[in-house]
Amino acid sequence: MPVLTTYAYRNSFVFRLDPRVKVAWLGVMLLLSITTSRPALLAAYLLLILATAAVAGVPFIHLWPTARAMLSVAVVIVFIQLFLHPGPHPLLQVGGIRLYREGFPIGVEVALRIYCIVLASLLTFIWMDPTALTLLLLKTGLNYRYAMLVSLSLRTFPLLERELGKIYDSQQARGMELRGTLRKLVRLLPVMMPFVLRALRRANEIAVSMELRGFGYRRQRTWQRSIALASWDRIVLTGLTVVIVAYAGLRVTQPGWFV
């Protein structure tokens, strides 16, 4: 199963937005998720994130591997909170461990918050073109030598994932049993060693080809593309600003709504 769902262009309004708008959306979602404690509101934020994904044309199946992996995390988190928050309402006693009902809302709150943070972050990178991300970093004043590294990491991720798959296949062809998580854990070294060495050889090749193309030769470089805010970008940014101002106002005047 691939670890990361990478960028793939879709002809939708959200994909065409400026990267600054996408980052601003992520910032708003993170702020709302982190500063809210009421589970019902956090569930509403989660629905809002999924609705945005639907509007962008990202199929839910692209989010499902991450959502499914987070499910086991959520269960463990709720369990830990049941154990850590003793109160007058015991729920269950197994041996010396007693679970309390008081921890349940806290567990649900933490689990929902984590879902919001993870899915909002994942979506942002699903609809963020690596080149646009590089251009965005350049706009912040970062040197292009470092700005390019983020897009390089996004581009090499699937390549290295395939390389790890090949190493697993090669070791299995040599008779090493690697099916199942436990076997992979026990035999980590015979997989990790060639993986690191091959990755470093690939780094060598990439660095040489970049230097041959003049990477780092001049302090500045030119780009084929540039980013600029269009009218739709300005409208969405204004909308996000209104949301944040309204949220801040309600947070001050009606703090009980959010905790």
Partner: protein, 199 residues
């Protein structure tokens, strides 16, 4: 690449260092920057794909016995052979992907961890040849104890734990990371030095 290199005979007792670049703190050539990124991606694929998932399923993300080990191993490799800022790039690439892939609930705290950890690796590895297994043990003690300390307030706040419990969970992570990374980092670093792939 015109990188000035040197030997460490005066510093490490007549013993040649494992890496040509061990005397330097910074290395800005393209190879170091790219290797920093690639090692960050490797760390993410190994950790987020297998180990962090297992850790999180077992402990709910409150401590990371397995992922801590590979994180320390690859951070040491990056810092040892490619110095700074490659060490930072490796760590922050891993932190970025950990946030995106949701491999653990406290992944945002990795951004802080991974800013501190490579500095300790680079500074300590300047005074050790890193040719013996116990050099890695000596390097990892301060790197893990100081570098992973920001995880304590992170687990405390994300999981609503008590300070005592957050501290104990962190000590368990530290102990597991130390044991795994001492062995893995030593073996992989020797293999890299022999293959000369980092020169």
């Amino acid at each position: 690449m015109s990188v000035k290199t040197g030997t460490l005979q005066g510093v490490v007792g007549e013993e040649q260092p494992l890496s040509r670049y061990q005397l330097q703190i910074f290395r800005f050539d393209a190879k170091a920057l790219v290797a920093g990124v690639i090692l960050g991606v490797v760390m993410t694929i190994i950790n987020a794909g297998i180990l962090e998932r297992v850790d999180t399923a077992l402990t709910g993300g409150t401590w990371f016995p397995l992922a801590g080990g590979t994180h320390s191993t690859l951070s040491v490799i990056s810092g040892l052979f490619f110095r700074l800022p490659a060490g930072w790039i490796t760590g922050e690439t891993n932190a970025l992907f950990a946030v995106i892939t949701g491999s653990t609930p406290v992944s945002w705290a990795f951004l802080i961890n991974n800013a501190i950890y490579p500095v300790i690796v680079v500074l300590v590895s300047r005074v050790l040849s890193m040719k013996k297994w116990y050099h890695f043990a000596v390097l990892l003690v301060p790197a893990i104890l100081i570098g992973y300390s920001p995880m304590i307030p992170a687990t405390y706040s994300v999981f609503h734990l008590t300070w005592g419990l957050a501290f104990k969970f962190q000590l368990l992570t530290d102990a597991a990371a130390f044991l795994i990374a001492t062995i893995l980092a030593y073996l992989i670093a020797q293999a890299i030095a022999r293959s000369r792939v980092a020169d």
